[in-house]
Symmetry: C2
DNA sequence: ATATTTTGTGCGATAATCGCACATATGTTC
DNA sequence: GAACATATGTGCGATTATCGCACAAAATAT
């Protein structure tokens, strides 16, 4: 929560309501009012009111006891995609790239210490990246996140790494601050990033920066693939030029 | 708004806050607090509070005057996709189908008189469907919407058509109630639906029902394509079996 | 430099939202 | 089927969240 805003300028009913929506996930696809109250620390009466409000507005449905989200909540996420030129411009280019290279591609931005995936074009592969629009990953475990962090100045990068509090997600996740910093700095020098098995075993990410026509850094576009698909040097040789070509085409449109 | 719920059970701050998010779109990608107040009938002070709240929570950003949505709002839509087995099960099958048939595919459900697209696997085509997860179209202009409406009983279908208040989107949109009912009823009989240029000129949709293993109607899966790609009879011949095959595979998983 | 428009903010008022307690309904156990 | 436990519905009074206003300050337009 941004500490700058005065509490009297904040609408707590909205904050709680959004927290209710976010409380539903694959471990709790449906909840009773009592379960929700326990999960997000609301009174049962308050939980009931938020659930009834969301149901009344069409964002949830109920059988009288359990509540679950409806597809209408996707409308909220779509407010972002329909209000922003970026996803609408980038998505077709990523789909074309996915078709040319045969691997899943995506576009991510950095939000604090998290990499947020805004666009995805998934290839039909057995190994699924699990990345879809809206996905957020710890930036230090994401090639895109690291590449984008590489553009921070030295002090800001140190702070970013500290704030990330790196911990292992796989047996080879880099958690040592100095090693992480070195690997991130190397990405900036070479103009692209590559990581393997940092968030999920067997998954490789290759990223290049995406800039607009004024040369402002917009985010990163990436390929996500199985490490078994080809060696990392073959992957770099094949995919970095293709990513750069897509980035150049997009730079003219943005 | 559902009329069943008592006003005292509703949280108006949440309703207004969600309305604020939905106010941003491609015609208003960013707004000042005064513009928002005019757009959704809030006082300027209230508009300011909602914008500051959403900014504080990370869903919006500001340059001090204008406000715009951030990718974080996609998180809200993701609560639906991560809390529901349906999209996670259906999406990979649609991607495989898109790759096999070379056209965009999608999964839609009916919400009232609207068709809501929950999953999409878009092919790399010049003619883009513009359909993405969360898209809502008037059901009567959508092949999926019509096919799903065809399972309503006779009286409910009449009511559905009346509530839809059909109006022309293209030069050939069916708006006559009797004609629409006849075309919808035909879809049920033949077990699939096909329409052309009902919402957008030059776009053909072919849909089949999707059922779960208990034979409950879940929604419809569809191909969307350019009418110029092939004749409608060739499209039916090629695509209906492929859609039915995917529906059958999914029926075993759902 | 001036006029106009927009925004920031403190304030008192109102009503939205709160949590509680009790009645009712539902589910579980014997 | 009865007893018990758990969950839900609801009315209520209390609290405070949210309201809109008015004025000052800042930004923008001329």
């Amino acid at each position: 929560m941004n500490a700058d805003t005065k509490p009297s300028d904040l609408i707590d009913g909205l904050r709680k309501g959004l927290e209710v929506i976010l409380a539903f996930d694959d471990s709790s696809p449906q909840m009773t009012q009592s379960e929700l109250a326990l999960r997000i620390d609301l009174s049962r009466a308050a939980a009931r009111r938020y659930l009834l409000t969301l149901t009344s507005l069409g964002y949830m449905a109920t059988d009288g006891k359990y509540f679950w989200l409806t597809p209408k909540v996707m409308q909220l996420g779509r407010s972002f995609t329909s209000s922003s030129r970026l996803p609408r411009t980038i998505q077709p280019e990523l789909q074309a790239l996915t078709e040319r290279c045969g691997e899943s591609t995506n576009f991510a931005v950095l939000e604090g210490v998290e990499a947020v995936y805004v666009c995805c074009a998934n290839a039909n592969r057995l190994l699924s990246t699990g990345i879809e629009p809206g996905t957020r990953l710890p930036g230090y475990t994401s090639t895109a996140g690291r590449l984008l962090a590489s553009f921070l100045d030295d002090q800001a990068l140190d702070q970013w790494i500290n704030q990330s509090a790196p911990r292992a997600h796989t047996q080879v996740t880099v958690t040592d601050h100095a090693t992480l910093k070195r690997e991130i700095s190397k990405m900036r020098k070479q103009g692209y990033g590559i990581t393997e098995s940092q968030f999920e075993p067997g998954l490789r990410g290759i990223s290049v920066p995406l800039r607009d026509s004024a040369n402002n850094l917009i985010g990163a576009i990436s390929v996500s693939m199985a490490v078994s698909a080809m060696t990392s040097s073959a992957a770099v040789k094949k995919l970095v030029p293709m990513l750069n070509q897509t980035a150049a085409r997009l730079a003219q449109k943005l």
